[in-house]
Symmetry: D2
Subunit: 354 residues, 4 copies
């Protein structure tokens, strides 16, 4: 089902080559003035065609708000935003040739012959645009509650950047990164990452990477034990983003290499507040926030659409063949995915605290 | 909320030192004869006190079925199973000293002074016993549909085993591992892992590790795009298990090191079936199963309860102090967690296919 | 929350005087060809301005399908349909004068000063148009499964018609009624009802009534005991329709006047099928369909918008005053509500059998 | 599914002749001291065997609390309460003879041959005992928020009492009625009702009736438009109670006999508060409370278990036959159902305001 959330309900719809894509965001209280410039800026961070690193396919991604907002202020009722599809070239797609790494085969298995295969249909990464719209609204509400969410690219192919785990992070830093064309902490490393992307592109290939996300200002006591743990809620949203194949909180998989005496975060007090002197658990104990920054990383696989010849199956003839994907595709989507990760996180955090 | 699932509803309850813990499992069709020996065996795989590697605290963990079963066969109505708490020593716990790495602080932040702190209360790993009971029923129903679930320990501290990704897995292998006292593929490596655990124990320390899980026999077309993706459903269940801090599907975080041409799984057909010649995506594309084995790994942090002196805060006096956790604790819970991971997965998979 | 359903998810949005109203219908399987003429006809049954009995305010109510349909056939993904608001006269409404019987006061209490008060905003009966669109699709799927849903006006003010409980009903009869301008079994009684409506209109007053609905062809065994009883599911949908203030299944409130020996429906068999020889329970026992027609009635209150002078409060001045509602209003909405009741029922029944 | 609620989750389980019945109540905040005497008193109001008007079958109905409560105070985690089944006579029931008016046939259609038919199994009215336990807790929390819930018998067979709509109701009156052996406003009328019940009993027959329920102290602004309207939420809970076949809010079905000018509730202010001078809408406009008492009535059908010979079907032989239900049955359950209606309402109201 394409509805997510408990106290906040997010319902998305749309196909890459249909009339429009969109979202209903239900549960935003009345009285929030929407900063449309901010929303537009967030949408632009995800939009294709911004530079040489992504597909030259340009999409306006202008959101039309149909409900829930009067005179620029939320009314408390469901907010529906839609984005019309304008720049669609259906002829680029052949229904019978399965694109490796894509959902062509599984979509066909689930929906059968009436599956909308054009441009990935409902599976298209384009459907993350409504998530960004909804998340950009959530971010504004969170900001009013003193909560900031930001991210950076921690890895592209063989180029690694430092981690939020190991540097001093602040709302200012998160904001600064979000304004960058290529969202990294250290631009020098960012340049190397860009080179890696362009190099892959020149080989008709693609690369993936790792995005690290931080939530600052979330007070202790949010979340739940077990099924509605903060990790459960955030991860279920993250794996809703196409191409995400892994998530880890705090030290994550590196916990396997630690002993308990190193892994535990000791408590300390200044007499007024209680905090931990390390943050290996990424701000979450027992599924509940402990007041430290929430830190997690997600793995993004390389864009499956590459221009190289690949082995595949012709489903009509049921025989082995090859496919050469033409059209306009991203050699890397990690930089565009950062804002999707942030906005999905904003929705998850907001649902946990409403 | 401690209710999980869509077509299957699982509701858990209980505190480590309360009268009983338990679960309601709703959605199991009528007519499934329950193999109580199998359920008991699965419960035993999780139970403490089985060998020198875990706490000597022995718990019977005998499940009493209160409803939904008549003459050993499910009736189609909610199944409630409870486990009475018999071996509880509340005096081991001091309410005012926060145990690092535990949910003492966050539980207090969420529930306030009425929080049941005894032995972790509702946050106790003991609450996974009902999940095993429910999952053991789910496993039996899945088996009837030709689906098997198994797991092995991929890593304990600095000892690594091979991955299901890189070896030939079969239902027989999964079953064979599940019968082992220490669930690994290669017992020789298992011995080294045990040494690492005993070594940590001798230092009053603990270790964590990585569990890899496989689902065999799931046909293509199960799951959904976006919010109800198989990855979302499985991960939300996995992060309900205390101590799980990361999850990755297929190549997971290693995708960041691959190019698209290596990451994509090419399709091939034998004229009847379509399959992929590699399984980097862990059997899932676009959130939907593609007919290949579902493969994923979860990271388990080292047991936070260690006997070393640790820095912490006395919440009553609001001053810094130290804590020395006595009582009976596991130097490693990874081996006991394998069956919890499998049973949680069984519930997640069953919910996706019902 | 404005999302309803379990296996079928319906999310509605929109305000009477906003840009558009609409619905996402999620859970319709792929491969259903949409009969757009049928959908349009159902929409027209609800639309205002069709005759002298309803407001002369004419609305096109043309639905634009944004997703989930390709070449006229459902694809299995969420279907979004929107209806643009074209004919809106905001100046008819005064924010500070509470209209008796409307949600002006409660909307203000819930949403505060940012409440969209124009024409009832989100509370407008106009928001039932998306329910009709969604229900018209559900009806087509149900028809394929042999299930028909129809209704008739059982009472308008002091004019009563016979009940489905006491006459022989068939799919043909239900279809015949649905094609009528004024949906009654006996047109002669219908004429008297129309007179009652016109008479109320001439007094600047309004009338309500009772709608009886029937579901034919639903096989025995659908529904659940307790919380997901067919009565619970249908009633929760019916009370989502503005102006509905009561519902009864089978003999309903008349059961209070019966003895058990008269109330019970005796079972009988023809050797192949089991049925009941009466249908006092309206086709439902223990929350589950018994194979007989599902029969229930809903009470619709008189349209609250009347042109007479009424006592009310000016919320700005916080003083007592009077209101004279001008603008274009229905003296009776019962005839327009029949299709809303049917379509809501279609969604409820479909959710119970998917 | 036997889980209900949004912010409050109630999951019930159990069969009449199984080991135990029970409920998980999730969402009650920590820190509520449980008045066990009050809970016991509410349980007793529902329990059979209290007087000549109900079955002489005596059940202890002692609730055992397994979780969520420490030292008599709620901890904030799920509360599980169970009631062991002690007094069960399975031999009273014949699997093959369908009892008219019961769920024997529909249960068999839904669950098949493995259906637990004994004493109605999961369909038994006995399963309302856990609802009373959960609701008695909800009532205590509501009382702290100034909200009282009470009910009275408005009709038994041909004996009618006055309505809360037409008399002055207060918390004191509601409490007074709740303490009565036979919960009516006017004991003189109550005596006549008892006569009607005993008279039916003497004829081996049964009678039903109407219960009217009131919620006092609920402030304006609770509830939602459309799908989560107060009427939707309350009615979905009411139809979870076996034997309930109708519900109406305020004037309910009588609205059909009114004109808008009589039906509308005019607003008035005393300069500080806004209220309505009549309460035809039963305290709800647009699905949201308006600050007036919430008033509604539910119809209860006559107990289907009667000792007269009734026509039915033998499902094994698939032939027509008769059934003579022996055993101990209530000639009327209305008086016992009042507390179930109140407790169900308490859960519904609490879910709407949490």
């Amino acid at each position: 089902m394409n509805t997510w959330g408990n106290k906040l309900k997010i319902s998305i719809f749309g196909e890459s080559h249909g009339a429009a894509i969109g979202v209903i965001l239900d549960g935003i209280p009345s009285g929030l003035p929407l900063d449309m410039d901010f929303i537009r800026r967030e949408m632009l961070r995800r939009a294709p065609g911004q530079n040489a690193l992504s597909t030259p396919r340009k999409e306006a991604d202008e959101v039309e708000i149909l409900s829930g907002v009067m005179d620029g202020v939320t009314t408390g009722t469901p907010i529906c935003g839609i984005i019309k599809n304008t720049n669609t070239k259906s002829k680029d797609y052949n229904k019978n040739l399965l694109r490796p790494g894509h959902a062509d085969f599984t979509g066909f298995q689930k929906y059968g012959v009436f599956h909308d295969f054009r441009g990935g249909g409902h599976f298209s990464g384009r459907i993350t645009a409504p998530i960004v719209f909804a998340g950009a609204i959530a971010k504004q509400l969170l900001r009013k509650k003193g909560i900031s969410i930001g991210s950076h690219i921690k890895q592209i192919y063989d180029i690694n950047e430092t981690s939020f785990m190991d540097c001093s992070i602040s709302k200012e830093l998160l904001n600064e990164i979000s304004l960058k064309d290529f969202p990294v902490i250290l631009d020098k490393i960012g340049e190397k990452m860009k080179q890696a992307i362009l190099s892959a592109a020149s080989e008709k290939d693609s690369v993936g990477g790792i995005i690290e996300c931080a939530v600052l200002g979330l007070s202790a006591g949010c979340g739940s034990p077990f099924f509605a743990s903060l990790e459960s809620v955030i991860s279920s949203m993250m794996f809703s983003i196409p191409a995400v194949k892994g998530i880890e909180f705090g030290r994550g998989f590196d916990f396997a290499n630690l002993k308990g005496s190193d892994a535990n975060d000791p408590f300390e007090t200044d007499g007024e507040k209680i905090f931990t002197t390390s943050n290996n658990n990424g701000g979450i104990n027992g599924g509940i926030s402990n007041g430290m920054p929430i830190l997690f990383s997600v793995a993004i696989k390389p864009t499956p659409s590459i221009a190289q010849i690949q082995n595949t199956v012709d489903t009509e003839k049921m025989e082995n063949t090859t496919i050469e994907i033409t059209g306009r595709h991203d050699p890397c989507i990690v930089q565009r995915a950062t804002v999707v990760v942030e906005c999905g996180t904003a929705l998850a955090v907001l649902d946990s605290i409403l």
